[in-house]
């Protein structure tokens, strides 16, 4: 039970995919200008990561080394296609807001990284826990980013006005530069709270 908790917490905080491993940055930067987008993407990645981890942990040993990456990519692409069709069917506006970035979950290096380094060599249960931890860590990063950016950039949260009518929105926060600046500052905060040893 303890091992399960450690595995989960490592993915969530100490080895947080975004703040620590600098993975999955494209999505983190691109869609975090609204909290709703951040939450949707967090859920989508959670599903894709846990499902493909589980599948890969079952087939990991049987795949020849040389074609591992293409095979893993196919597994991921299959689940991403499911998410894409699901979003189009039930959440059309969100699907349009996320645009091509749903497809880019396939090349999210977090997922391939976990499959390659963990799921292919571990039991299905451990892989599921590890995937859930990492995915929660990713969702946490997405939500943290999007709360800051939506609050400063639009003065709203989930589209609801919070900052009052006198608030002047920081337009740069919802444009490209704001994404980089907020991520840089959040990385600073995260590493100040739990310092990196080796670097």
């Amino acid at each position: 039970m303890n091992k399960t908790k450690d595995l989960f917490m490592a993915g969530l905080w100490e080895d947080n995919p975004v703040f620590r491993q600098m993975l999955g940055l494209c999505i983190t930067l691109a869609i975090t200008n609204k909290v709703a987008n951040g939450v949707t993407m967090g859920v989508a990645v959670f599903f894709v990561l846990t499902a493909s981890s589980f599948v890969v942990s079952l087939i990991g040993d049987t795949v020849p080394r040389r074609v591992r990456i293409p095979v893993f990519m196919l597994v991921i692409a299959t689940f991403v296609t499911l998410v894409y069709i699901f979003l189009q069917a039930f959440f059309m506006p969100l699907s349009q807001a996320l645009g091509a970035y749903v497809g880019l979950i396939i090349t999210n290096c977090i997922i391939l990284g976990r499959l390659e380094s963990f799921s292919s060599e571990n039991s299905p249960w451990d892989s599921l826990v590890d995937a859930a931890g990492v995915a929660t860590g990713f969702a946490f990063a997405l939500i943290a980013m999007s709360v800051v950016r939506e609050l400063l950039g639009f003065g709203t949260l989930f589209g609801i006005q919070v900052m009052g009518p006198s608030w002047t929105p920081w337009v740069s926060m919802i444009l490209a530069p704001g994404g980089f600046l907020v991520l840089g500052l959040l990385i600073w905060v995260q590493r100040a709270i739990s310092p990196v040893e080796e670097e």
Partner: protein
Amino acid sequence: MQYISILIAAIFAHNIALRYFLGWCPLVSQSKKLSSAWGMGVAVTLVMTITSAVNWPVYHFLLVPYGLEYLQYIAFIIVIASTVQVLEMVIERFFPSLYTTMGVFLPLITVNCAILGVSLFMILRDYTLLTGIVYALGSGIGWSVAIVSLASIREKLRFSDVPKPLQGPGITMLIAGIMAFAFLGFSGMVGIK
């Protein structure tokens, strides 16, 4: 004329890295040294142009006629992964010296979201084949501009006194933010349809 404006727009105003945030994992990890930044830039430009040239006919002649557009992700990723694999083998066989410098970057490219992103944008924006190829070439050059300038700044940064938690990725993101501000200035120059 329109090809030139697409090319310029893809390099500067619509820079794939600084405007659309694509390909950031290698941008952070490979921008510590200028030499590896160059290698990565060339490799990405090459793969990006080839895969778009292959993905366009795959989408328009294979998927659309049979109503299989929803399979685009899977189709594109197969094309990208196999292109990278073939390219790696060709370079290893015929240009061994190039392989030693560029070979390590190739497998990384399969998971570079910029490659898949360019193919998806090309379909999303309904480009013709030639426009798509020019756009991919421009995006590759634009990505290389971003990684090379980032690497140049980071090499200088070694001599500055950055707070410890901010070192490495943190300061890189702040630099990227400032670079993105600079690239926003190009948006008035040329548009993209």
